[in-house]
């Protein structure tokens, strides 16, 4: 009896200690979810994570999945805290915040030196004035041009407007230098909407107004979509673009089968890598062309790090996110992703690692960022847009018909 009582008391004491004693950093293990493609490589993130563990003692298990796997993994695990830290796309904070999947970190973000962070990177974490993540991946799309093929056609200047680009593309095609001078990622995927955002922006269009009201069937958006379709019917854009995502655009460009391609920053390093490109040294990175409505336009591809609603160690998770996004880490690993910090763009080490051309192009392109609609229903709208825009590109539907239908869809989704 006495023995049993002692045992019970000891058990109670042990349980109380376990519950009340503070968690030491060494006891904390975080699970983090990252993407395998574009931006920081798996090796970069692993190295950053090791450095974090060495300096804090906090263990982190990073998991890397393809972009398409990110959302399903987050949705199935966020509530239970399967992952503490997740990498999200800039189009998700609105949806995730409304669904209660990620933590509001406004106070933590506002404590940062916000003036030194690019607006695009901040926008990628914001919904209705609140921040839901730490800005991390700062990316936009650029135009990549094979200047050698262009020079072969007797053209020395890189086009700065879409009209000039079309003229150049015709010249290249007519001279038999490249059958399809333009490669684009028009597959039924988010990349199609990214490219359409860039082109619609250059035509002065946007998918929502300043109050987030849908404006899909605006004159400018119709003109931009008509323009995209015409590049296919005129044989200037590769017809295989309808099955291409970003990596396919890169491989087509790297094989010398395209003169013009819109892609994320990572194309610059890959197309100049002789082990995977036959056009190394031939291509340049430039801002996306414009029209008389806008000098240029690109799409925000920023990706923040977020803390899931089920995370048991939000303070440690925030420390980890801040470490990954610190100036030191961003300066060290800037070859595949440009920093979020403005002050790093004058750092000689960063310019050397990221490439002077990339930094120079980014300084212009960052001024023309267009956000995709930051509304909770965006993903559903995007799914509809992808198939309807493809129908226009395939010639099954006119741009006006498609965008009128999409406007109705957007209005009904906005109503909830």
């Amino acid at each position: 009896m006495r023995k049993g009582l002692i045992l019970a008391l000891v058990s109670c004491a042990a349980m109380t200690m376990a519950v009340s004693s503070p968690a030491f950093a060494e006891d904390v293990t975080l699970n983090a979810l990252f993407m395998k493609q574009a931006g920081y490589s798996e090796e970069d993130v692993t190295a950053m994570t090791q450095a974090f563990t060495e300096s804090t003692g906090i263990q982190v298990n990073p998991t890397f999945v393809a972009y398409e796997e990110l959302a399903p993994k987050i949705l199935t695990s966020a509530a239970s805290g399967g992952y503490d830290v997740i990498l999200g796309d800039c189009i998700w904070p609105a949806q995730f915040a409304k669904a209660g999947l990620v933590l509001d970190v406004t106070d933590r973000v506002e404590a940062l030196d916000l003036d030194d962070i690019y607006q695009g990177a901040l926008d990628a974490t914001r919904y209705e004035g609140k921040y839901y993540g730490m800005p991390w991946l700062n990316d936009v799309k650029y135009m990549f041009v094979n200047t050698k093929l262009l020079a072969d056609a007797g053209i020395e200047e890189v086009p700065t407007t879409w009209d000039e680009l079309i003229e150049d593309a015709k010249a290249v095609k007519d001279q038999g230098i490249c059958e399809y001078p333009i490669a684009a990622c028009y597959a039924q995927a988010e990349c199609l909407i990214c490219d359409y955002t860039c082109i619609a922006g250059a035509f002065g269009g946007a998918f929502v107004d300043e109050n987030n009201e849908p404006t899909l069937n605006s004159e400018e958006n119709v003109a931009a979509l008509d323009f995209m379709a015409s590049t296919l019917t005129d044989g200037l854009c590769n017809p295989k673009s309808l099955e291409m995502i970003e990596d396919d655009v890169l491989s087509t460009f790297a094989a010398g089968n395209a003169v013009f391609a819109i892609n994320w920053t990572y194309q610059f390093a890959s197309m100049n890598d002789e082990s995977q490109s036959s056009v190394a040294g031939q291509g340049v990175i430039t801002p996306i062309p414009g029209t008389d409505k806008a000098e240029s336009a690109t799409v925000n591809g920023g990706m923040p790090l977020m803390i899931t609603a089920g995370c048991q160690h939000p303070d440690e998770a925030w420390d980890y996110m801040q470490f990954l996004a610190s100036k030191e880490m961003q300066a060290e690993y800037c070859a595949n992703a440009l920093p979020i910090w403005k002050s790093l763009y004058t750092d000689e080490g960063v310019i050397e690692k990221a490439g002077a051309e990339v930094v120079a192009a980014s300084q212009i392109q960052f001024d023309y960022i267009v956000n995709r609609p930051m509304v909770p229903y965006y993903n559903e709208l995007s799914t509809s847009m992808q198939s309807e825009i493809q129908r226009v590109l395939l010639g099954e539907l006119s741009a006006q018909e498609a965008l009128d239908g999409l406007q109705e869809t957007a209005l009904s989704l906005a109503e909830g």
Binding site: Q95, A189, P239, K240, S241, S251, N257, Y377, N379, L394
Partner: protein
């Protein structure tokens, strides 16, 4: 009497772990999903938590998208099952003959089936690539097409490419089934028919085909149900594109759940799929029973 009760109690103890597993992983999700079809649980909806009754079913069944998805699902299911069954039978008939190397052929025929779907999907996607795919190279080399085509970027060909990829992987399964059935047919029946003057086609029609009927039935039942639920091959090869030409019911269910966060709609789609599959199974079972009778 007492002994019997003790035995029953002992038996109950033995099967209780499996009952818990069955209850946990089958019955609970089935019931929960059904509840989700009746109550709005969409996290983004203004009506979250409200009882919806049959409105999700009505919405699905009256939507054009659902019927278009169903049409594409049936296209894939019927075409793919038909190809696998016919091709499987023809290959099995060939491999049932005696010729040098037949044992080797019987062994390697199984390889496509042994490949994981993820490998199969990626393999075919690469082979069909419009820029550097080997299928384009072969067709151009044999002058069957003049230039590389975007097979997966064309709504007219994308579904057929998936059917081809799926049939290539799954036909060996049908071959094995048919081969086993063919080897069970008594050879003396063929010899007797030959003596009676029956030709090869007549022998196939009168002896082989009736003997293979139960196997055909099994393959058709199994494959139809499996194909109706197919998701991975679509996810890997086209993700429903181009222009939704390969968007099936199952793929749409995935989109509703994991892209749009319309959990109740996804649950309703899943239930409707289960209903169709159950209906098909019932018809097949009845047909099989009639055959046996």
């Amino acid at each position: 009497m007492r002994l019997r009760k003790e035995e029953e109690r002992y038996a109950l103890k033995l099967i209780s772990p499996s009952m818990i597993v069955v209850f946990g992983v089958i019955i609970v999700p089935i019931v929960t999903t059904f509840i989700y079809t009746l109550v709005n649980i969409d996290p983004l909806s203004a009506h979250k938590g409200e009882f919806a009754g049959l409105s999700f079913y009505i919405k699905a069944l009256t939507s054009k998208v659902f019927w278009e998805d169903l049409g594409r699902t049936l296209h894939f299911t019927i075409a793919s099952t038909a190809i696998e069954t016919v091709l499987g039978m023809l290959i099995a008939l060939l491999l049932n003959q005696k010729f040098p190397g037949v044992k080797f052929l019987r062994s390697i025929i199984i390889i496509p089936w042994a490949l994981p779907t993820v490998v199969n999907g990626s393999l075919w996607k690469l082979m069909l690539n419009g820029e550097y795919g080997v299928i384009n190279a072969l067709l151009v080399r044999f002058h069957l097409i003049s230039s590389y085509q975007s097979w997966l970027g064309n709504p007219k060909t994308a579904m057929w490419c998936i059917i081809l990829a799926d049939a290539w992987k799954m036909t060996p399964l049908a071959v094995i089934f048919f081969l086993a059935a063919l080897q069970g047919i008594d050879n003396t029946i063929y010899e007797a028919a030959k003596v009676d003057g029956a030709g090869a086609f007549r022998r196939f029609q009168a002896i082989t085909l009736p003997a293979l009927k139960p196997t055909i039935m099994v393959i058709v039942v199994m494959r139809t149900v499996e194909k109706f639920k197919a998701f991975d091959i679509f996810y890997l090869m086209t993700r429903g594109g181009p222009a939704n030409s390969t968007k099936t019911l199952m793929y749409d269910t995935y989109l509703q759940a994991f892209t749009n966060l319309n959990y109740s709609e996804a649950a309703t789609y899943a239930y409707l799929i289960a209903l169709v599959v159950a209906l098909m199974t019932l018809i097949y079972v009845k047909l099989m029973n009639r055959e046996e009778a």
